[in-house]
Structure formats: C-alpha cells, structure tokens
Amino acid sequence: MLRMILRRLPQMLIVVLGVSFLTYSIMYVLPGDVVSTLLGDNYTPEAAAKLTKELNLDQPFLTRYVTWLGGFVTGNGGSSLVPPHQQVWDLVGKSLLPTLELLVIAEVFAILVAVILAVISVASRSRMVDRTIQAVALASNSIPGFVLGLLLIMLFAVQLRLVSPRGWVSPFGPGGSWAENISHILFPGIVLGIFTFPVIMRVFRAELVEQLDNEDYVTLARLKGLSGTRVIFTHVVRNSSFGLLTVVGINLARLIGGAVIIEAVFAIPGIGTLIKDAVVSHDTPTALVTVTVVAIFVVVMNLIIDVLYAVLDPRVRDAA
C-alpha cells in the first residue's frame, strides 16, 4: 500500500507541475500590461520601473516561474491584480466552501440516482424499464449543463416558484444561517448531479451485468436457490461498487468543469467563478493559484480513490 502511494507520488508531482507550468505559460503570453493596469492614474516612469522590479517582471520567463513556484509552496501566492488587491489565498479560501458544497451535493445525488436506476434497470428484467431508464440517462447526457440549469430555473423558480434562482447565501453573512445556505445551494447541486449521473450509471450498470453474467459466486448463489433479486441486492451490488469508485475519480474533472458553468448560471461565488473572472481580467496571480489548487485537488482525489480501491479489493492490493 505504502509502496503504491510512494510510486504514485512522483507521477502526481509531475502532473501538478505540468498544470501550473501550462497555466503560467498561457498567462505569460496573455496580452496586457500589468504595470500600467496596477498603477492606473499614479503612473510615472519611475513608479513603473520600481513596480516592474518588485513584481520580478524584468526577469526571464523561467526564473519568474521558479520564483512563483517557490512562493506557492511556501504559501505566498501573491495578491490579486484586480482592486482591492486581496491576497490570492484569501480569495481561494473564501471561494472554497461554495464549490465544495456544490460538488458534494452533486456527487452524492449523482451516485444515489445512478445506483438506484442501474439496479432497477437490471433487476426489473423488463426491456421496457431498461430502455426507459437508458433514454432518461441519454437525455440528461445530451443537455449542456447551463441549458439544463436555465430550463430548470425556468420551470421551478419562474413558473412554479418552488426554489430561489439565487444559488448562494453565505452562512456567515448578515441574515445567513446554515439552513438558509443549504436550502439555496441544494438546487444548483442537484442540477449538477443530473448533469453527471448518466456516466456513473452507465458504468455501474455495465459492471452489474458483467458480474451477473460471468462471476462464479453468482452461479453458486443461484444454484443454492437464491432468487435473482436477492442475488443482485446481497451480492452483486456490493461487489460492483468498486467500479463506482473508479468512475467517480475519472468523472471528477468533468464534474468540476460542470461546476464552473453551474456557478456562472446561479451566480455562486465559488472557485469556478474565481478562475473565470481571473482569466478574463488577466489577473495572473489569482488564475495561477486557483488552477493549480484545482489540479492538486483532482490528482489527490484520484490517489485517494486508488488507495481506497486497494484497501477494499485484496486482488488489487496484492498486485500493487
């Protein structure tokens, strides 16, 4: 186990470094003069020269990247170029909660719906039910996330007035409470979940069918006289749930991509909004730190999932 983690660490490091380097390169070639933007009306050649020196802008590209990397590792991400020039890590800290809540709600909802629908479609053994469920999955896989969000806002917020179209109320702000907070973020979370569940369902359903058709323990259970439904619920679902772990990991990048869009639709001040605004306003320090944090998150989550997989499945553990 430890050996597996140690073997994976260099790979993870390379991916994270690569992502930050790629972002750095992209932001480096972005047009726009940082110094004149920062100084605004206070622009004088002397002040400009001084700031250029302070921000290391007179250094070559690679030196600046290494300096930035050193700052990132030691917890100094610099300050935002957009007034009021907050510390980047403060900005990231503030945006973390909405995005995490969104992701957790979406993932839980997606897994629940995916598992329930997959089990129904396999256990019912009815072609009609199976086809209907597949059609529902195909449909929600074919709608862009923001369209789904807007359509559901149109239906539930505008027509039926069941939910608020506003996605975020801070639990710490004036008049905010955790109950209020959850009740607002729940709807965007579910929208993101609807957007993600088809992929999970497909994999889980395929896994169920595969186990039912090929595994000896299924034959044994059948020979012992267990009913088909019993076999599915007591044996196959448990054994298939390993596959769920993998697909959740693979799906994570897609989920975060979806979160960026959903945050834009519901005006949620999360990581996605932060990245989007930073990139659009050429706010290099913010964009760099945020994107790197997202990459680290994806990579670490994937490692955790692989470790969990090894813990749960002795065959994988011994192979590693």
């Binding site: 790979q11 992209i26 149109m154 897609r254 990139v279």
Partner: protein
C-alpha cells in the same frame, strides 16, 4: 398391413430475412450492392437519429437559402420582441428585432462548424500522438502519456476558458480552444487500441521486414483502430458542441453579431420569464442534435459488440 402414410411435412419456406434474400452481385449494379451492404444500418435505432441529424444540417446550411430568410443581424428595431407566430417572423424576434428562425439557422451553421472542426483537430492530433505512444513504448510513449495526463487533470472547460481568453473570442479561436482539450480523449483511445494492434503478427512481420515506423502506423495500425476512433469521434462531437455552447454562454466563444446556439441562449438569459422561447428553441436544437449523435454512437457500438 401398411400404416397410412403420412404426407411428409413440407419444409416451411425460410422467412425472407435480409440474410436469405439473394445477395446481389456486382453485375447487378453498384447501387443495389451498396444498398445491400448497408442492410444492417436499416434499423430504426440508426435511421431516426440519422434523419434528425440530416435535418439539422439541412436546416442550418440550406434553410436560409430555401426559406429566403433575412441575415440574422439585420432586424428592424421597431419589430423588437415579437411573439411566436407573427407575420413574417414565424418564431418571433429578439430584443434587436432580429428574426429568431434566421438566428437559429445561422446559429446552427456556427455551432456545427465549430464542433466538426474542433473534433477533427482533436482527432488528427490526438490519434497521431496516441499511435506514436502505443508504438514507441520506451521513451516517447510515457512522455506523451504524461502530457496527456496533464491535459486530462485539467477540467477541460477551464483550459478552454484560458485559451479563449488569451486568443480573444472568435469562431476560429473557439475551434482551437475546444480542439485542444479534445486531444487527450482521442490520444487515450488510440493509444489503448494501438497497444492491442502493435503486438500482432502482421505488425511484427512488417517491422522485421524493415518497414519504417510511419509506414507501419499508417498502413497497418491506423486501419485497425480507425473504427473505434471514429466511434469515439461521435461522442467527442457531442462534447465539442456542449463546450462551444458553454464557452459562448460565458461570452468567450463565438462573439455576438454572429449567432450560435450557445450565445443565443446566453444573450437572452434576461428574458427567461418574458420570452422563454428565445431560450428553449435553441436549447431544443442543441438537445436534438447531441442526443441523436449519442444515439448514433450507441447504435454503432452495439452493432460492433454483436459482430
């Protein structure tokens, strides 16, 4: 005493399934032969999505010519926000008096063009990289795969946002941005498939008889992985359409005077309660196209699995 002889049961004629029908030969005409060869695709699961896709393409590219509709940006401000069914504007107009039907048709041109071009870009670059990674398994392969891992660890839409923000919103730049992040998917598929083909005897034979690597990849590996790669391209096309829509919605895709299904929705978000048709009409177009592409991909994969 002889038992009354039973009349022998005549063998029932076989049902006229496509297989028992006479197989046409070349002399009977190329068209008939082609029609026969396509028999396995004459199923509702293939024909219906195919027809819808064909309709969307014709609607977008020939529609404006056939219906002689005005260009999408030439509306009269005095006609603003007409409801559906207005004379001269069957689907109404938007806040600038532009005809919605015309916007949908021209928007389809943009969206379909961007998605096809981006998928083609990802297919060519990704497949070449993937085949190289599958063939040179010692040095080049791992390096390419790490690079693709990096692209994969990036939520694709963030990458597209970064590229689009750098290049500035335009149709060509949207193609670059979306095409770039679709490289990783094609790379993975084609590497996995190449790994399957490369150890096969005919590749080993070609190698030992001195064929060059590009020659082997093109004449031996590519034909054996092309089917899977094209099947994935259909799925990738669906993703590319969604990505174009998302970028345009954020204002980083195709910029406004040129309509696309994505930016029609994005720019009319404010009219969600007063003129919802401005949102759901392009949404229906997009949904129909993506769903049919996915159905098509499913049908082809099912067919492949049962072969």
């Amino acid at each position: 005493m002889t038992a009354p002889t039973k009349t022998p049961i005549a063998p029932r004629p076989l049902p006229r399934s496509p297989e028992t029908r006479a197989i046409p030969v070349r002399s009977q005409g190329a068209l008939r032969l082609w029609w026969y060869r396509q028999r396995r695709f004459r199923r509702p699961g293939v024909v219906i999505p195919g027809a819808v896709l064909l309709f969307m393409v014709l609607f977008s590219f020939l529609g404006p010519i056939v219906l002689n509709s005005p260009p999408p940006g030439t509306g009269n401000l005095s006609d603003y926000m007409l409801p559906m069914g207005s004379p001269g504007h069957p689907l109404g107009t938007n806040a600038f008096g532009n005809d919605t039907l015309s916007q949908l048709m021209y928007g389809g041109r943009t969206t379909l063009t961007v998605a096809v071009a981006a998928t083609a870009l990802g297919l060519v670059v990704g497949t070449v990289l993937g085949m190289i990674a599958g063939y040179f398994q010692t040095i080049a392969g791992p390096i390419i795969m790490r690079v693709l891992d990096i692209i994969f660890a990036f939520p694709d839409i963030i990458l597209a946002i970064a590229i689009a923000a750098y290049l500035g919103p335009s149709m060509i730049n949207a193609i670059w941005a979306i095409g770039f992040f679709s490289i990783a998917g094609f790379g993975r598929i084609s590497r996995a498939q190449s790994l399957r083909v490369v150890p096969m005897d005919f590749v080993v034979a070609a190698r030992s008889s001195g064929s060059s690597a590009p020659h082997i990849l093109l004449t031996h590996v590519w034909p054996n992985i092309a089917g899977r790669v094209f099947a994935y391209a259909l799925v990738g096309f669906g993703y590319a359409m969604m990505a174009e829509a998302a970028l345009s919605y954020l204002g980083l895709g195709v910029p406004l005077p040129t309509p696309s299904w994505g930016n029609i929705i994005g720019s009319n978000q404010a009219y969600i309660s007063t003129a919802p048709q401005l949102l759901y009409l392009p949404a229906i177009c997009m949904f129909a196209t993506i769903a049919c592409v996915n159905l098509f991909a499913d049908a082809i994969q099912e067919k492949r699995a049962s072969d």
